[in-house]
Point group: C2
Chain length 362, copies 2
């Protein structure tokens, strides 16, 4: 019988299966987190789109339904200074879409941003003491990391290069997520902004494993047991899977996003910054084709989303996904389409079958 | 004891180890091919930079030194029509470099192109009957493919997307190389020119395996036994390894290329079209930074190389790699630095040890 010999992440987090459900702000629900954790994996609650009270509510609901380890994810970007000129340029680029959709390009917009980890979020962590805290875009300032660690939480963050992994270890993480460029949603890059040199999972994971002494979690392009088993061969101690959880009934995504993911092939996605100002992988749609996928005219994260939000909302009301961020990784097609708990155990069981098939024998 | 259960490529090619030394025009020598094949892998002779008589000579020398199966690789692009306007624009872009190096920007240039597979090359195949013929950039016209197959050769080509893999199978290949975007040198893309949607090895291999019935060879980001074992998990029947063979004493590359590869990290490379007109992965250097890495001002493959060749030669003579194509994949750092024969067996032995470590047990 094949076994998962590498227990470093399993033991570090106190979980049963080396499967981490990726936090996907706007898609992951309490139900998904609970199902993944109760199945023995690590459910991850994304808080980037939450206010403080929303996060408290979500944690109360989660804790009422599972006593298993859970992860809470925070963005740790620095909120940029107001830059009215950059916003003007961006609104001018978007103006033709406003006109096309019958909207007033000069109407005030609401600032639907994403909040970085701060004192207030840290107090929620101290109150609820989640088992694992993961950050995206590096780490918050040291005093906040220290407070998180003082709660007993294990701290992890994503690296898109070896340099980022080494930096994260030097700054105190307990584990590194090696995020290959196949991954959907926001890239975790924080020491580089150069998308042309981002690294594929196959090349990234073993080089990160060689460069750090903390255990490594592989992410990017993993949607079935073959990918889970491959990550193990590369030296990863666990995997983080995002896109496959978008098919779960527990995922809360617009119907047009679900339809796009359901039809996505290997080459349906690209890394784009047009939705938020930071690079993220999504299914190619009209605005990515017309303004991107990567553009130097997009204002800094997370401020791009506000002006785009108005056209997005109107287009979605008209049944069009032209301006919707259809986050997806490159392996959507591989995913078994199952509820979150079953998906978690199936990814692991499938990995064991793959290991079994290719090992032992005489 | 772990074993390599998947024998589809091993049996198809009549080799002993599922390790294919990638054909690297300008770097692979007869010595490298002979060593890889004699070690039980498949040595691959690149002919893209050869004239007919050079290829004959190389095949005579190879055949004198091994009776094991060998692969000969050809480019199967269509030579573009002359486009003096595009050449003028390209030479204008390069003119400042000519001036900087003390060269005359209007001096005639020699057309150092790459020759596609044609009748004459096909006659050499019919004469020498290599066991495997691999193509890059799709396939040549059907009548030529038929003649190659009539020699008894197995025909393979590279796919960078599932669509390309399906096309290759429909057009008669015996195996598909699934070439993830980590791979060094020229991308094999032929149905798409869009680099923003190219796919990482981790995501590409299993999706290609699911889409075709012929066996699949994984390429891209594989430089050690961990990658070989991971490729097996993903469903590949063998791997094609390029960059790791650049460290071999049998590799014939400029000293500055060897030095660049020796120092390359995971994020040292990018996909660029500035050297030849087609996208290829190389270590980022000055011309990639200043004109690319991807530029719409580069004339079509392979005609970009001629005007660049003049500045490249002068800069190299001055000890500078500013204009040299430093082909490398994203996993250079992982490679054991060994002669080609030892590298071939080591990649396999290391893969077996990785499989063994993670399998069986109680």
């Amino acid at each position: 019988m094949a076994r998962w010999h590498d227990r470093r992440i399993i033991d570090l987090f106190g979980i049963e299966l080396p499967i981490i459900q990726a936090p996907m702000a706007g898609a992951t629900t309490v139900e998904m987190v609970v199902a993944a954790s109760n199945a023995g994996g690590l459910g991850s609650l994304p808080s980037a789109l939450f206010g403080i009270e929303q996060l408290r509510d979500a944690l109360r609901q989660t804790r009422a339904r599972t006593s298993k380890p859970i992860n809470v994810n925070f963005f740790s970007h620095v909120t940029p200074d107001d830059d009215p000129a950059a916003q003007m340029r961006w609104r001018a680029l978007l103006a033709p879409y406003y006109v096309e959709l019958g909207l007033d390009p000069s109407a005030p917009i609401s600032g639907a941003g994403r909040a970085p980890f701060d004192q207030s979020f840290c107090e929620v962590v101290e109150e609820f003491k989640p088992n694992v805290i993961s950050f995206h875009f590096g780490l918050p300032e040291k005093s906040l990391v220290d407070r998180v660690k003082a709660t007993g939480a294990k701290v992890v963050s994503s690296a898109t290069t070896v340099k980022e992994a080494v930096w994260l270890e030097a700054n105190g993480v307990d584990a590194v997520i090696a995020m290959g460029l196949e991954a959907g949603g926001h890239r975790g890059n924080f020491l580089t902004a150069d998308m042309s040199t981002q690294v594929g999972t196959m090349a990234l994971v073993p080089q990160v494993v060689d460069a750090v002494s903390v255990p490594v979690i592989a992410a990017g392009g993993i949607s079935d047991g073959r990918g889970v088993a491959a990550a193990l061969m590369l030296g990863a101690s666990a995997v983080q899977v995002g896109t496959a959880y978008l098919y779960c009934p527990e995922a809360k995504i617009p119907a047009m996003h679900a339809a796009a993911v359901a039809g996505a092939g290997d080459d349906s996605t690209a890394i784009t910054n047009v939705f938020t100002g930071r690079p993220a992988r999504g299914i190619v749609n009209r605005i990515m084709r017309e303004l991107g996928p990567l553009s130097e005219s997009v204002p800094p994260f997370p401020t791009a989303g506000a002006a785009l939000g108005t056209v997005r909302a109107k287009a979605e009301a008209d049944g069009r996904d032209d301006f919707t961020n259809l986050w997806s990784g490159q392996a959507a097609r591989l995913a078994p389409r199952l509820p979150a708990g079953e998906l978690t155990t199936t990814l692991f069981d499938h990995a064991l079958r793959v290991l079994e098939r290719h090992s032992g024998g005489s």
